[in-house]
């Protein structure tokens, strides 16, 4: 009840902050990139992937989406925390009769909710693009859901760290830099060890089981979230 109320307030606070256009740019941007990819070398790609056109399109989509997922987490976390830092509104927000735990929870849920929306746009856009490219109507839905949403679960630790940094530090240059570096590192994800969190959104591992990084992400992400919120509760407010 309280959390829903707070979420409504958080959504009100980011009104006119152009967050939704950004979310759309992230979700559909990846689709557009992929569309350009196919437009440039349609015949080549279709011939190359003739055995499983949908599967190849999805795995390339996944590859393109991971960097924008990580960058998105950093930017959105920074915007959500930034509205409080900008005019030092923490002192007003936290002097209201509500628990700090729920304030932090609302910010985290909002961040993940917005990213979930971006992933959904990506999924829908992918289907539309696939149909436009005449990949056939035999859409592999399980695979679609897997590449659309499992990376988000696997990236939960990254989101939790970004939110923690953005909330703790008034200077948003630091969390944004961490976000950019993380994005770059994730692009070399395939070469990283299986236990490096920046590899997890790639869902690639030695056991060939995409659920493992997703489960790891969920567990570690929640742990970091709890640590962040404990710190937030104890923190002195400037």
């Amino acid at each position: 009840m309280m959390l829903l109320q707070l979420l409504a307030v958080e959504r009100l606070k980011i009104r006119r902050k152009a967050i939704w256009p950004l979310i759309a740019a992230g979700g559909f941007g990846v689709v557009l990139l992929q569309a350009a990819n196919y437009a440039l070398r349609y015949d080549y790609l279709m011939k190359l992937n003739a055995d499983n056109p949908w599967g190849h399109m999805l795995s390339e989509m996944h590859f393109l989406a991971v960097p924008s997922l990580i960058m998105g987490l950093a930017i959105i976390a920074s915007m959500i925390a930034g509205v409080e830092h900008a005019t030092n509104s923490w002192k007003q927000t936290l002097a209201l009769p509500l628990s700090r735990l729920s304030v932090y929870a609302a910010k985290f849920v909002l961040l993940m909710g917005l990213m979930f929306a971006a992933c959904t746009m990506l999924a829908v856009g992918t289907v539309v693009l696939g149909l436009c490219l005449s990949l056939g109507t035999d859409i592999p839905y399980t695979e679609l859901l897997r590449v659309s949403y499992l990376p988000l679960l696997a990236a939960l630790p990254i989101g939790a760290v970004q939110l923690w940094l953005s909330v703790s530090l008034a200077n948003q240059a630091i969390p944004l830099t961490v976000g950019v570096l993380g994005t770059v590192v994730s692009m070399f994800g395939m070469t990283l060890g299986d236990f490096v969190p920046y590899k997890w959104p790639m869902l690639d591992n030695q056991w060939n089981e995409p659920l493992i990084p997703a489960a790891l992400g969920l567990t570690v992400g929640l742990l970091i979230y709890v640590a962040g919120s404990v710190h937030f509760v104890r923190k002195d407010v400037k």
């Binding site: 009100l12 009104r15 902050k17 509205v83 900008a86 030092n88 002192k91 007003q92 209201l96 009769p97």
Partner: protein, 322 residues
């Protein structure tokens, strides 16, 4: 069970230290119901730190805060529901309109939507409620801050430097607004400032803080008595003048023994000067006449007003000598 004379704010041994440095030390604040409590102190004395502890924004190193007779630490949410606050510079979301800013807080407090219009009209922002707050003047932002603080019908209003950065008419307006609240709404107010004159004009009770310590806590009348103006007379012979004045029942002290006046210091300070309590013109004329008729020259008569700084010096010195 609550009694009528319980303290709205009661702190005991409240201390905040960062490392070894104590920002606020052993504060025992007592604020009674319906008071306008002026929290006075120079910049950096610990006013804002104290107020942040009262609101649970920072954790005391030692000591406790009781609001409405309840421990703040264990009843934070319940207690804060009855408190409205404006800490230092106003907090607002610049990209949102005045009304949206209030709405963001209203949803948390759970008061009816109509309350927004009420508080907007109290601070006279109804007309500008539809504009983004980043376009407001500082005075308007400050008023919006007051409106936000009033939104939850608080019993206690804590205002930290509410007139900071306002122009004279803004200050006057803010002062009238603050003064009207205990009368109209029965609210208890704590208002901090570094200006004695400002506190003097609205407070009923005053707490003075310097270097993190509460050095005085008393009614405004009693403080006024301490800081009232005095009459400085430059005379030909100090001992005789003192004697003559005491013969007519006036206690005079030589300026050297009292604090040095800041005004009119163009000549040798303290030399040949005596200080008496400030009086009306007729009585001052009577003093002068008595002195002159006794054969004592009177060179200058001037009103010396003790500044807050002097008062602070006096108060802190007093503490040290205890």
């Amino acid at each position: 069970m609550k009694t009528n004379n319980e303290w709205v704010i009661e702190t005991s041994g409240l201390t905040k230290a960062i490392g070894r440095k104590a920002l606020v030390q052993d504060l025992n604040l007592r604020v009674g119901r319906g008071e306008i409590y002026g929290f006075l102190g120079p910049n950096g004395a610990g006013k804002t730190t104290t107020i942040r502890m009262l609101l649970g924004l920072i954790r005391p190193t030692r000591g406790s805060v009781k609001l409405f007779g309840q421990e703040l630490k264990s009843n934070r949410i319940e207690v804060l529901r009855r408190v409205g606050s404006l800490v230092e510079y106003p907090s607002y979301y610049g990209h949102l309109t005045g009304r949206e800013n209030l709405e963001a807080v209203r949803r948390i407090l759970g008061v009816p939507v109509g309350r927004i219009d009420e508080v907007l009209s109290i601070v006279r922002l109804t007309k500008d409620a539809g504009r983004p707050v980043k376009g407001y003047s500082l005075g308007m932002k400050q008023r919006l801050g007051i409106a936000t603080a009033l939104l939850g019908n608080p019993e206690l209003l804590i205002l930290d430097e509410p007139t900071n950065g306002l122009d004279p008419s803004g200050i006057l307006e803010m002062r009238e607004l603050i003064k009207s609240m205990p009368q109209q709404h029965g609210i208890t107010i704590v208002v901090s400032s570094h200006l004695l004159s400002e506190i003097e004009q609205m407070a009923t009770q005053v707490g003075i803080i310097a270097q993190g310590r509460l050095i005085a806590q008393e009614s405004i009348e009693s403080l006024r008595g301490r800081s009232k103006g005095r009459l400085s007379l430059r005379v030909g012979a100090v001992p005789q003048a003192t004697k003559v004045l005491s013969a007519i029942g006036v206690r005079a002290e030589s300026a050297a023994a009292a604090e040095t006046p800041r005004a009119g210091a163009a000549y040798d300070e303290g030399a040949n000067r005596i200080l008496v309590d400030s009086v009306d013109d007729e009585i001052a004329a009577y003093y002068v006449r008595t002195l002159v008729e006794s054969g004592i020259e009177v060179y200058r008569v001037e009103e010396v007003r003790q500044s807050l700084e002097d008062l602070f010096l006096k108060l802190t010195d007093g503490e040290e000598s205890l």
